[in-house]
Amino acid sequence: MEPSSEKLLWMYKTMIEIREYEEAMVKVYLEGKLPPKIQKGLAFDIGAGPVPGEMHLAAGQEPVAVGVCAHLHAEDSVVGAHRPHHFAIAKGVRLNEMTAEMFGKVTGLGRGKGGHMHLFDPKVKFSCGGIVGAGAPQACGAALAAKKMGKDWVAIAFFGEGAANQGAFHEALNLASLWKLPVLFVVEDNSWGISVPKSMSTSVASNADRAAAYAMPGIRVDRNDAVDVYMAAGEAVARARRGEGPTLIEVKTDRYLGHFQGDPEAYRPKDEAPTLRKDDPIPALGAMLRSRGLLNDETDAGIRAEIAARIEAAYEFGRSSPYPEASEALQHVFSS
């Protein structure tokens, strides 16, 4: 199923939005974290600045997010992992509230309680979490709910190639196949699990080869390309909606930045990231759009300006929103 012009443009815009969001975060995140304003002797202070805590960015990994989410509606569920922004943006999570959450503000998705790894937007059924592998069974739950309610909604679990070695992966895939759940397991193979290369974590070259262990289709997308992902995911989503069960997809992608911001990356060949950037999927899709006459300098500039404004507004919203009252810490342990 080739993407329509509309989908192509949407994927292009959304990839730009993700990239710009992440690049902006690189800068905002560093605010207040560097000498001399931090404890003497430190190179960096993770707990300082307006956006404290760990920060996992997805620059370079946009194709997997847009290629899959292009097939989804608000009622479909997405469960991301610790590196969630690209999925959140592609799923349509409210950008202002998401950003405010990372600033720890009361206007945030979780009133500042969740933070970057724990974004919940029930309006578009997005969630994520910081425990590697834990999202896979949760996506089964969303899929089971859809099935029980007689809806054709699907659920997507996105996680990294490192996560595919966690026991939860195995249990979730077996359940999903057994119960013919409308769920996709999408492995982002960015070659690294923090500092551990795939060859040191994974006994098989492609996780797609693990699908046979659950009698489900397995697809490997070998290029970090939105259209390739779109095509693979399209058939899988359609199968799921038809009630034919789950699919496992592994997508080769690239992590341009460190595992988290502040990662010294001593484990990584110095020229790896710059080399990867030469195959940047965004200009690649841009060129395709231009060749089809769907984009030119002017419309491109328009798209970029609109996105820049939206992102700036989101960061401004996050920055200027108030913090919750300290005593709010005691609320929401239970819902009443």
Binding site: G110, G112, K113, A134, Q138, A145, A168, S335
Partner: protein
């Protein structure tokens, strides 16, 4: 009351499966998942008869994949369904606790209250029938320690039915722990006090209300689950010795009814905690600290005494297990010891 209530004597297992069945009938969002919960009816009979009534879509047999199906419960609850998931023995929590305490228990909080997780986890606890170290634990204090879970530990059929219905209707994750030795199973000896009159109709028992199940004046025994039945038997023996024991059945650990404990201890001046969990860093410490934190209003006649499993795995061999798990006689002995002790004057 306008309705006439009919009640029969039920075992705790019957009361539990009845409660689940009634709620499943009332609310189509409720469903049950677990190992051997279908044709077998649950290893501890918590789902007897329910497969026939509700079919395999609502009484769902699972693989031995606790992380898989508990994570499924998390996801389904977020979508508005009301899953009940059974961990056959609480001892197995170590293979799936992540889904429970990092997700089910925290997602409401991390979402700032935007999401509800109305799920119940049922599980069998306790020893006394020689099932050894990996199948005899209580562990309730671990579930009570982590925020975001309500913890229910009934001692008898009547309470179990009301607490189960309350649990299923609660919009929050609840862990419902039944001691195997009070379920009234046909293949395990049990304490008969746990099999009692249960109304046919639906009713709820609110969480956080301890039950002063026996009044007394000389000492307070704070306890829960099967140990309530042991404590009642001990109280009978103590009465013969002229010692009047008040027995407080906690019923739920989260929320914890400290006020009832405090009131009783204020009256008696003596506290014995009778617990089947491991001694240290758990329930008995928490209950003891109610006294420690209220030394401004309490005039204690004796130090607090904690009776629990003395920080050893549950041994298999009968004499060892009987020694490790507090018995009726050890409650009696501890109470007598308490009556002979003195607080600092």
């Amino acid at each position: 009351m306008t309705n006439e209530s009919t009640s029969r004597t039920l075992t705790m297992a019957q009361a539990i499966s009845e409660a689940i069945g009634m709620e499943m009938e009332r609310d189509s969002r409720v469903f049950y998942m677990g190992e051997d919960v279908g044709k077998y009816g649950g290893i501890f009979s918590a789902t007897t008869g329910l497969l026939d009534k509700f079919g395999p879509e609502r009484i769902m047999e699972t693989p031995i994949s606790e992380t898989g199906f508990l994570g499924t419960a998390v996801g389904a609850a977020a979508e508005g369904l009301r899953p009940i998931a059974e961990i056959m023995f609480v001892d197995f929590f170590g293979v799936c606790f992540d889904q429970i305490y990092n997700h089910l228990a925290k997602n409401t909080y991390m979402s700032g209250g935007a999401l509800k997780f109305p799920a119940v986890i049922t599980t069998g606890i306790g020893g006394g029938y020689n099932d050894a170290a990996q199948h005899s634990q209580c562990l309730y204090s671990i579930f009570a320690h982590v925020p975001g879970l309500k913890v229910v530990v009934p001692s008898n059929a009547y309470d179990a039915k009301g607490l189960m219905i309350e649990a299923i209707r609660d919009d929050n994750p609840v862990i419902f722990m039944y001691h195997k030795g009070i379920m009234g199973l046909s293949w395990m000896s049990y304490f008969e006090g746990s099999t009692n009159a249960v109304p046919e109709e639906s009713y709820t028992i609110p969480f956080g209300k301890a039950n002063v199940i026996r009044q007394g004046t000389d000492l307070t025994i704070v306890t829960l689950s099967q140990m309530v039945q042991k404590s009642l038997l001990a109280a009978d023996k103590l009465a013969e010795l002229g010692i009047s024991a008040e027995v407080v059945d906690l019923r739920t650990l989260v929320p914890l009814d400290k006020a009832t404990v405090l009131k009783s201890v204020a009256k008696t001046g003596r506290l014995l905690v009778a617990d089947e969990d491991y001694l240290s860093f758990g329930l008995s410490g928490e209950i003891s600290s109610i006294v420690a934190e209220n030394l401004d209003t309490l005039q204690m006649k004796a130090p607090v005494l904690r009776l629990a499993v003395p920080d050893v795995p549950i041994p298999f061999s009968r004499p060892l297990e009987q020694f490790a798990i507090p018995q009726v006689d050890s409650i009696v002995d501890s109470a007598r010891q308490l009556m002979n002790a003195k607080a600092f004057k």
